[in-house]
């Protein structure tokens, strides 16, 4: 893997002011995105994964949102706190984004061709004619049949899968270095999902794209990711290589997520649910955010928040502390879950 860091996020914290008080949606999130690789951010709804990436692009309305700490650097250049004008130099141009619901992310009153051409004209200074040619090339690259005819159509004339392809064409039009894909296949059927994932993978290879993939589907993570960050209650609770996360899971939440999915083994292993639901971020619990649902909770977990332990493979869990009494037992448990 190339070690060149394209995007470096450190200690990011975002909160929202609401009538009920301030919600700490993202708390102390740090990660690096390496060139030509895919970082998957995994977590349940409300864990802060979308807020994290939308903050990078200035897509969070402020107020009510507020960045309380942290930085995000694209090749060393700070993204946070830029004016809208400066930010437009990055978003759409050097960082592309794909949204979950293509139908509401595209403009329903513009043809597909015009929407993609618009970004080329604005960011790349192309003429209308050159932009049109480029749109045809892009639609061909994302394997939309009959591009000359399709570019004159409106979003409602596209199927879900085709519209997602069109949005991918739009997001890569200005040859960004970074592509952020927020649940790009969640609304699609598995057969169409497989097509879109393959398309993203081949675009990554041909263009050297670095991808941040947000998803809640561990199958998609296993299929696409090189690096994985697992988020829970606004924090990264575990991060590492995809093999670290799947085969050497260190955080009880990651272990729980895996056990909650039926596997492919011939015998039906018992499905293990994670009891309860994620904590209220209006008042994050004292100590570890997962303590109320954790099967291995210790007294310490309810009073003191664990730091991230480890170097390349990190977990935010007291069980990783050298002095954790349950550590030996826990390792046994992981081994038994894995076998």
């Amino acid at each position: 893997m190339s070690s060149e860091i394209i995007l470096e996020v450190t200690n990011l914290a975002v909160e929202f002011a609401t009538y009920g008080g301030s919600v700490q949606a993202v708390r102390d999130v740090s990660f690096n995105l390496h060139k030509g690789t895919t970082l998957a951010i995994v977590g349940e709804s409300g864990c802060g994964k979308s807020v994290t990436v939308q903050t990078l692009l200035g897509l969070i309305p402020m107020p009510p949102g507020r960045i309380t700490a942290g930085s995000a650097r694209l090749r060393g250049a700070e993204l946070l706190g830029l004016s809208a004008d400066r930010l437009n130099h990055y978003r759409g141009k050097r960082i592309g984004m794909i949204f979950q619901d293509a139908m509401s992310a595209m403009n329903p009153t513009m043809t597909i061709g015009d929407q993609i051409a618009e970004t080329l004209i604005v960011h790349m200074g192309m003429s209308a004619a050159a932009a049109r040619q480029e749109v045809i090339t892009l639609l061909t690259q994302v394997q939309i049949p009959e591009p000359e005819r399709r570019l004159r159509q409106y979003p409602f004339e596209f199927s879900g899968g085709m519209l997602q392809r069109a949005m991918i064409a739009l997001s890569i039009a200005c040859q960004p270095e970074v592509l952020i894909a927020d649940e790009p296949t969640t609304a699609l059927d598995v057969t169409i999902q497989a097509q879109i994932l393959q398309l993203l993978e081949s675009l990554q290879q041909s263009r050297g794209l670095s991808i941040i993939l947000i998803t809640h589907d561990l199958g998609v993570v296993a299929r696409m990711a090189h690096e994985v960050a697992v988020m829970y209650a606004g924090q990264i609770v575990e991060q590492g290589s995809v093999d670290d996360i799947f085969y050497r899971s260190a955080h009880p939440y990651t272990v729980g997520l895996k056990a909650a999915m039926p596997g492919r083994s011939a015998h039906k292993s018992v499905l293990q649910e994670i009891p309860g639901s994620p904590p209220d971020l209006f008042a994050p619990p004292a100590g570890c955010g997962f303590n109320a649902r954790c099967p291995h909770v210790m007294q310490l977990c309810t009073s003191q928040a664990p730091p991230l332990f480890g170097t390349s493979h990190q977990a935010r869990c007291w069980l990783q502390h050298a002095a954790a009494p349950a550590q030996a037992l826990y390792q046994q448990l992981i081994a038994s879950v894995r076998s």
Binding site: E44, M162, V190, T191, A222, L257, G263
Partner: protein
């Protein structure tokens, strides 16, 4: 068989001589205490099949037999009332399927009160019993749906369906709107209720690994027709129809080594329009193994193994 569809058909008229062939001559039964999983892409007709089966849509053709009695082709209000005690349904969207202006207590008790009369206080014990049975608490009784999470609302939906003690439960994508960790909670609850109550279920979903997990048998629909049906493990591990094979292999597994070793061909194209379908195999346009006669003759289900049938000319 507890309930059996015989050549069940549901067409929707679009006018101008156009018809959507949503469900086309599907014959499928569910035994007593059996869970039948029904999978397929969106637009394959699986929800329409479920709704037509229990009379929420009028049938365009065919019959439904429930406990040796034919169900009416067109339902009157009395038919629904009579049937509601035997067949219940839980829905995909736990947000829109609960009336936001009713309390949890009123929602769960409503079916029971319509059937047996009486008032809320007379059935309170029963409501509390079912609320606790699905993992909620009696102090939730006077709350409103908006105060609950998606998983909790789905539990309310399950309690509402089961309080009238039906024999058959239609579950239409009951977990697809829920988070992974909560999906497992709801699936385990349904499995436990099936065990203890001897419920039969039609479990409609698009997540094959989850369907395999809960089902005894699994049926696969494509473009309104049934392409394969058999024991859940057989359909999942040794699928026979080319469509089922591609559906199973498109599902990414939470196992990076397995995914890296992946060599499967990806199913190209999309599910075509179900308007005014012509004879021939529905899957012919996307099938990698298609032969000329597939486009002319409609394949019928034939037995390929024990209790395992598939509709393909090439088998």
């Amino acid at each position: 068989m507890l309930i059996e569809a015989r050549k069940l058909r549901k067409y929707f008229n679009l006018g101008h001589g156009k018809q959507v062939h949503a469900v086309d001559d599907v014959s499928l039964g569910i035994g007593e205490h059996e869970v039948l999983g029904l999978v397929g892409e969106s637009g394959s007709g699986k929800t329409t099949f479920g709704k037509t089966l229990i009379g929420l849509y009028d049938k365009s053709g065919g019959q439904v037999i429930f406990r040796d009695r034919e169900l009416p082709r067109h339902y009157q209000t009395e038919d629904y009332k009579r049937q509601a005690g035997q067949i219940q349904m839980i829905f995909q969207d736990p947000y829109s399927s609960l009336n936001p202006r009713m309390t949890i207590q009123e929602i769960i008790a409503e079916g029971l009160l319509i059937r047996s009369g009486g008032n809320l206080s007379s059935v309170r014990d029963k409501v509390v019993y079912w609320l606790e049975r699905v993992g909620l608490h009696s102090d939730h009784l006077s709350r409103y749906p908006h105060e609950f999470s998606g998983g909790q609302r789905q539990r309310v939906g399950i309690a509402r369906a089961l309080i009238v003690e039906p024999q058959l439960l239609i579950c239409d994508e009951p977990i697809s709107a829920l988070d992974v960790s909560v999906q497992a909670q709801v699936v385990k609850l349904l499995a436990e209720l099936k065990q203890s109550l001897g419920l039969a279920m039609l479990f409609i979903a698009h997540d094959l690994s989850m369907v395999r997990y809960v089902s005894d048998r699994m049926a696969v629909m494509y473009l309104g027709s049934l392409v394969e049906v058999g024991p859940a493990d057989a359909v999942y591990f040794t699928p026979r129809h080319p469509y089922t094979r591609m559906l199973v292999s498109s599902n990414p597994q939470p196992d990076p080594l397995h995914e890296r070793a992946r060599t499967d061909v990806i199913l190209s194209g999309e599910i075509p329009s179900p308007v005014n379908l012509q004879p021939g195999c529905r899957f012919a346009g996307r099938c990698p193994l298609v032969e000329p006669h597939c486009r002319q003759q409609t394949p019928v289900l034939r037995t390929v193994a024990d209790n395992h049938q598939a509709a393909c000319h090439l088998l």
